[in-house]
């Protein structure tokens, strides 16, 4: 097989070999099941390193152009017609049930946002800063799990409510934060989003009413909408959800769930006062409504004292509590949990089971090995120091670069700053211009049951960027605001 190689080409040798094989396979010169020379033979023949040939073969194999038979060699694979994207079809070619499904799709999800951003955009979105994640430590843990648990880590493993040792670790962390928890009451979930979904699927049906804070977590809203729940919002003030407004709502709408983030609320950053926590618990009990307490970031506290979780005030079985490792560690782990006691726990386990049988056992083993109480607390201290500085940098940048009449309350923890735009400005007008100018934020419209209520607001994540980046991003944002105000 004489492959013409050009040592002076800008294309590396392995790419030249790869290209030669591709074109000869596609043209039919090398028919299906033709055996390729061994890497050693070809390297000798061409007078190059075996690694170079191996690189070429491995790229060809990754793309399915060739395949290997163990102990036998490398062969030309059958040509596979992979289609290029979906071809638009006339609607009448779809069955009726498909057209009905299309009719129900609702507004586009936010991930289908139509704007494009230039390279170097500073995006005040997302959760923590991935650059701060101790990747090498984590990888070491993965290796340790393979060594110690072997194939066990790849079986279904923790069926039922999850990998038991991890449930113990979670109970331990919760207990260290003052929330009495037994491993038997902990259900491991695919992120806290799944915890929310399981609670809704277990306790609510279409047209049931759910009470939320307004503003509230956007993906919770998306979930409630997709389950066709009726959503009633209670406004948030600097003391959190205005629980005093709740009783008439309970009387009028008979909600089946109250969803709350009492600490560093997403997106407002507010904390619910303790008297309101007690009142909420009392009202929920009197009107027989479960509370779903979403504690996504309460341990990211920069000042002020820690308040007791609603769950820790619960006399028993009134509150379902959910948390996640996505914010503190990495979102791609997709491990969250819920804590619930009483008869509902077994129903939640069952709901999880029928939804997806189990969450990745390997990830549960790795997380359990990685997250000891001490290590978690150390990572927390490090993140807290870092994110506090960034919050302060964001504040400083806002004072320097944004118009005087923006309004915000300084959040004492969490990841987000909630900002009211200058009088008359809409986040929906601002966003496309900002994205063109290389700065992105999350518009307030995402966080209200009625999106229009959110137009005057934007949410800024201050955790993912360095102070220098934050300053530059807000400078750009200020310029765009000024333009819009002219």
């Amino acid at each position: 097989m004489r492959i013409p190689l050009d040592p002076n080409s800008r294309l590396p040798l392995f790419r030249q070999i790869e290209t030669w094989f591709r074109s000869n396979i596609e043209s039919g010169n090398l028919p299906v099941d033709t055996k390729l020379p061994s890497t050693r033979e070809l390297a000798d023949e061409l007078g190059i390193s075996r690694i170079t040939v191996k690189n070429a073969y491995s790229n060809l194999e990754s793309d399915g152009v060739v395949y290997t038979r163990e102990g036998s060699g490398t062969y030309v694979a059958p040509l596979i017609p992979v289609m290029d994207g979906r071809v638009p079809r006339p609607p009448e070619s779809w069955p009726l049930w498909q057209l009905e499904a299309a009719g129900e799709s609702g507004p586009p999800l936010e991930f289908s946002w139509p704007f494009k951003t230039p390279d170097g955009t500073i995006a005040f979105i997302g959760v923590g800063d991935p650059r701060e994640f101790p990747l090498q430590d984590f990888e070491r843990t993965v290796r340790e799990v393979f060594r110690r648990d072997g194939i066990n880590a790849l079986e279904y493993g923790g069926l039922h409510a999850g990998y038991f040792p991890l449930r113990g670790t979670i109970a331990h962390i919760l207990s260290s934060q003052g929330i009495a928890a037994s491993p038997d009451e902990v259900l491991v979930t695919a992120g806290s989003q799944q915890a929310l979904a399981l609670v809704c699927q277990t306790l609510l049906k279409p047209d049931d009413v759910v009470v939320v804070e307004k503003p509230t977590y956007n993906f919770a809203l998306e979930l409630f909408r997709s389950l066709k729940l009726k959503i009633v919002g209670i406004p948030v003030d600097p003391q959190g959800m205005q629980v005093e407004l709740l009783e008439p709502v309970l009387q009028q709408y008979h909600p089946r769930l109250i969803y709350t983030m009492p600490v560093f609320q997403n997106p407002s950053g507010m904390c619910m006062s303790v008297p309101r926590r007690r009142l909420l618990l009392e009202l929920a009990d009197r009107y027989n409504v479960p509370i779903l307490e979403d504690d996504f970031a309460s341990d990211l506290r920069y000042e002020a004292k820690s308040l007791p979780a609603i769950k820790s005030l619960d006399p028993g079985g009134r509150v379902i509590y959910t948390g996640t490792f996505s914010k503190m560690l990495m979102p791609g782990l997709r491990i969250g949990y819920l804590l619930a006691e009483g008869p509902v726990f077994d129903r939640l386990v069952r709901q999880k089971w029928v939804q997806d049988l189990a969450t990745s056992n390997l990830m549960q083993h790795v997380l359990n090995t990685y997250v000891t109480v001490g290590r978690y607390q150390a990572h927390l201290r490090r993140s807290t120091r870092l994110y506090r500085k960034r919050r302060d940098a964001l504040q400083a940048a806002i004072r320097t670069h944004l118009p005087q009449d923006v309004f915000y309350a300084v959040p004492h923890g969490g990841l987000f700053l909630w900002l009211r735009l200058p009088q008359g400005m809409s986040s929906m007008d601002l966003l496309p211009l900002a994205m063109q100018a290389g700065v992105e934020f999350s518009p307030g419209t995402r966080y209200f049951p009625d999106p229009d209520e959110g137009k005057p607001f934007i949410r800024l994540n201050f955790a993912t960027h360095t102070p220098v980046e934050i300053n530059e991003g807000i400078r750009r944002l200020g310029e765009v605001m000024l333009k819009l105000m002219k």
Copy 2:
């Protein structure tokens, strides 16, 4: 800190150190936040290796008894009251909504099976044989992904429908099996169980009718029950679902979904004939019902020719197809997929999104790197050779050890053999006795909409055990059957 060490004790030195600290911390001799000596100091003081001290400290830290502050040292952690299991409570202490939830829980899930098995039990349950999984290869792939993708593999990553390169790989594998697939029509799911759940949540509501084969996959039945669907079963014969019986059901019940496993059906092992596949597609089209084709093991074929997937006969948008890597690789990966075109695809993506945002990005990267077409096919060839031998061993063992009047058809692929018990014997009587005797199977009652119809049957998995183990397991089963017949 003078810790008494006994070099002659059977307890290793690090355990002795660990135990000494534990008891002194629990007794309060070492109060919270006491700094422990550094590992170097303590090792010097005790005249032992520093590794020994490190081992002791690391065990204490794993259990949350001590914690470390970076660059500062190791300290006594707060004592954490982890509760021991859930204490039974009087029912009146639960809120009413909890009692309602309890009332709806339905029959216990099968994982809460009450029987215990002795050590050395041969269990004809599960999926493939984990001992055959190339763990080292897989671990090498994990390392490669960390090296190549770094922190990217731990971000949310493949939002929308999943990690795009993996969607391409799946489309490629499907295309190589004759199912035209574009990556744009592939949605990555948390196992095929989630694919089933997403389809139901998108297209059905409580009280809607779903048509299934009887017998059918037990966890699909559990899912349908939990969603409060009405389940109508069409019997299976050696040519698969008896599609000729379908039309009156379509007319009478107006089902919203037809769920089928046309190849090596679980549990019966039967394949649907091609004329029936065409008839099914035609009827589904005429009556406007989507088909959900569950292809969990079609490539595990031991003889007979491969039949076209119903999806490959679909003129467009009639069939939603689902598959998984759990059977061929390892179930703990929790990666499956569905293939759907038409307007329903975006609704399925949205449903996935609100359920759990995304599936573990790391696992998707690893799987995509691990599974090239060639490697997948090589693993398949190896598994097929192995499992065919085991199927034959099971047949031989049945002929040798079971009574003459059991009945089964030899499956030409897949993992399961479906066996009718001797006249008058119930799998529910047989199971507890079998488990006492150290052999386990899956009773037929799990696979029918009306469990009573399944009493005469058992499902035997032949893939997880060696021929010697299979023979011994069936020998035990034969003995128990004989006892029961006396």
